[in-house]
């Protein structure tokens, strides 16, 4: 009952100064909303990075030809990667480090379905292991098999974009297309990954390696060898295995003169991820400052309120109001200000996170909502307690004489 009474006194006090209370709440609201929203933006960008990492396949390593020093000087002397290199990797590498190996050739060409013609972003010739390594899953139909590779069958798996361009809504599986003059049977369609960068990962056509070599590139070198490490933790070990074996097959003694490059997309992207973390922390700091400013706003308003109402406090004390009731009233006012302000801030922050902000889809961090709300209320209590305490400890006569 006393609690209810205190709440009513406090609400009355706030309503008596509507504009002032509203502006103070606005300060807290902006603080809380910006904490939630800015952290959501930061989080959203790191979630986007994480998604593109998983869409790449976390354990995949790509071996390309060329010196790690780069430049034309070494390119001339560099030995190209071959299917033999891939075979060596598959047979010699420690199976605890390397799970599978897929040589990859890429070509460009035009695919025809009857009189519909389309040029996929890339025509990939590879082994079935490629699908798992590159995290390409078949949505419909089947992958081609090792058997298809050995028999050099003219079968193809289409990326989602390619399938849509050639067949629109019709089912491509089992249909014939002509690629670079060679007829292919479509055996599967890949699941769409969605574009995260400039290149559309779904704009591909994947076929058995010898088939593509036969039709487009010839049986020389391969463009790259994709290696899948046994697990995300063994990528470093896989990397050293690849280096050891390829140095052997390329007959290079000095590892610093290697004519191939191993890149792990994961490491590249995790560097980007740590950048976005820094970004998030910076945004959070800015937001936290605005929350603090909101808290100082509460202190200021409570100080003004207490000063303005010192006489009233004197009257209440003369009527026998215990210290706790006065303290409670002003603390409740401060808390009400911050709770209502923070509550509205949470609503505003969550509502705002439904919009794209500078091209980033914000993802609200649940902890940030609780944290911002909790901190705002704590700030209200903390900063409100100073003026409230000052009010409550006044001697009645001093409060009554206050002008």
């Amino acid at each position: 009952m006393i609690l209810w009474q205190t709440l009513r006194f406090a609400a009355g006090g706030l309503v008596a100064n509507k504009v002032r209370s509203a502006l103070t709440m606005l300060g807290v609201l902006i603080g809380v909303a910006s904490v939630i929203l800015l952290l959501a933006v930061g989080n959203g960008s790191s979630v986007a990075v994480k998604e593109s990492i998983t869409s790449l396949g976390t354990n995949s390593l790509t071996v390309t030809s060329g010196s790690s020093f780069g430049g034309a000087r070494s390119a001339s002397s560099a030995k190209k990667l071959t299917v033999a290199d891939a075979k060596a990797l598959a047979t010699e590498a420690d199976p605890h480090a390397v799970r599978s190996v897929a040589p990859v050739v890429t070509a460009a060409g035009t695919a025809l379905n009857g009189d519909i013609s389309y040029s996929p972003g890339s025509i990939v010739g590879t082994y079935p292991a490629y699908f798992e390594t590159a995290n390409q899953k078949v949505e419909h139909g089947e992958y081609f098999t090792q058997d298809d590779v050995l028999a050099s069958r003219k079968v193809a798996v289409l990326g989602a974009t390619t399938a849509k361009q050639l067949f629109a809504t019709a089912d491509p599986v089992g249909r014939q297309i002509v690629v670079g003059g060679t007829p292919f049977t479509v055996v599967g369609v890949l699941r769409a990954k969605g574009g995260t960068g400039f290149t559309d990962p779904d704009d591909v056509l994947v076929a058995p390696l010898p088939t593509v070599q036969n039709a487009f590139t010839g049986f020389g070198s391969v463009n790259q060898i994709m290696v899948q490490a046994a697990s995300a933790d063994s990528t470093a070990q896989a990397q050293s295995e690849i280096t050891r074996i390829l140095l052997g097959t390329h007959a290079i003694a000095d590892p610093t003169k290697a004519d191939f490059r191993i890149s792990s997309q994961t490491s590249l992207l995790s560097a980007r991820e740590s950048t976005t973390k820094t970004f998030t922390v910076l945004l959070g700091a800015v937001a936290a400052i605005s929350l603090l400013v909101g808290g100082i706003g509460i202190t200021n308003i409570m100080l003004v309120t207490v000063t303005e109402r010192t006489r009233e406090i004197g009257i209440r004390k003369a009527l026998g109001a215990p210290r706790g009731v006065i303290l409670g009233q002003f603390l409740t006012e401060a808390t009400l200000l911050s709770v209502v302000g923070a509550g509205l801030g949470v609503l505003a922050g969550i509502a705002g996170s439904h919009f794209r902000i500078v091209g980033i889809e914000p993802v609200v961090i649940p902890e940030s909502v609780l944290g911002a709300f909790g901190i705002a209320v704590a700030i209200g209590l903390f900063f409100g307690s100073y003026p409230a305490n000052r009010a409550a400890s006044l001697r009645p006569i001093d409060a009554l004489r206050h002008e």
């Binding site: 009355g12 004197g314 004390k317 009527l319 026998g320 109001a321 215990p322 001697r395």
Partner: protein, 277 residues
């Protein structure tokens, strides 16, 4: 709040060994002094006679009986309000003792003082001192709320107090919607709603016209007739005529103490009007 308690009142024996048959005085002050400022600028608002030995202030001694009606008079700055604020536990003396109902107020802590103000004392100020933006009813309910009285009971008693001062139909009005006399009557209702044993009024009619003065004094007379102790500050002889006893202060000293009517009888104004006690 209901758990708050005052220390038990000591037995009458040691307080008044000379007259054990009568109740002890509600108010007993001994060598009470109050001074403001330091050094040469010190103002002795309450000083009493000078100590013949040291030349310093000896302090004010005063006893007020249960049921008495005391008017305190004196020129401006003579220390009347200072005395009253100490009696109402709104201020603390610089020196001396104040026994209220036999309890030494100087030994009470904050919470107990709040309880004394709430339960034992009704204070009426010259400047009304109503809580702004609060209706008359809520105003009168305040002391009851602080005493932890339940809402329904509070409302009933506050309405009863308001109708006693003739303002039942104004219970929804805020202070800025009431005349001065009406505001002072609300203040009186607020002072008497907890049924305190003692009513302290610092120039309650100082801001009122003669008609409102009569109304407020009539209320105070009525309260005294029901056994409440009343201490009232005034500048007007008209008002002082309502009291049973008149004190005169000069420079923080009681210079005259005049009894106009017996403590046990009705207040003189009612007596003159022929109203039985």
């Amino acid at each position: 709040m209901a758990r708050r308690a005052l220390p038990a009142r000591p037995g009458p024996g040691p307080v008044r060994p000379d007259r054990p048959d009568t109740p002890p005085p509600v108010i007993r002050i001994r060598r009470l002094t109050k001074s403001y400022g330091h050094g040469d600028a010190t103002v002795h608002a309450l000083r009493g006679p000078d100590d013949p030995a040291t030349g310093g202030p000896l302090g004010v001694d005063l006893d007020i009986e249960q049921g008495d009606f005391v008017a305190v008079m004196g020129s401006s700055g003579s220390g009347k309000s200072t005395l009253m604020n100490i009696l109402g536990c709104l201020d603390v003396p610089t020196g001396g003792r104040y026994l209220l109902d036999g309890i030494d107020v100087g030994h009470l802590d904050e919470g107990q003082l709040a309880l004394v103000r709430n339960r034992k004392i009704g204070f009426v100020f010259q400047s009304f001192n109503l809580v702004p933006r609060t209706t008359a009813l809520a105003q009168v309910e305040l002391p009851l709320a602080y005493a932890g009285v339940r809402a329904a009971e509070r409302r009933r008693r506050a309405l009863a107090a308001l109708s006693l001062v003739g303002l039942a139909e104004r219970s929804g009005h805020r202070p800025n919607e009431l005349s001065g006399g009406q505001q002072q009557r609300v203040a009186v209702a607020r002072a008497l709603v907890t049924a305190p044993a003692m009513l302290l009024a610092d120039e309650p009619t100082g801001n009122l016209d003669s008609r409102s003065t009569e109304e407020v004094l009539g209320l105070i007379d009525g309260l005294n007739a029901t056994g409440r102790t009343v201490v009232l500050i005034t500048h007007e002889d008209e008002v002082a005529r309502h009291a049973k006893r008149v004190l005169r202060l000069v420079d923080g000293m009681i210079v005259s103490d005049l009894r106009q009517a017996p403590v046990d009888g009705p207040p003189p104004a009612l007596h003159r009007a022929g109203v039985p006690a």
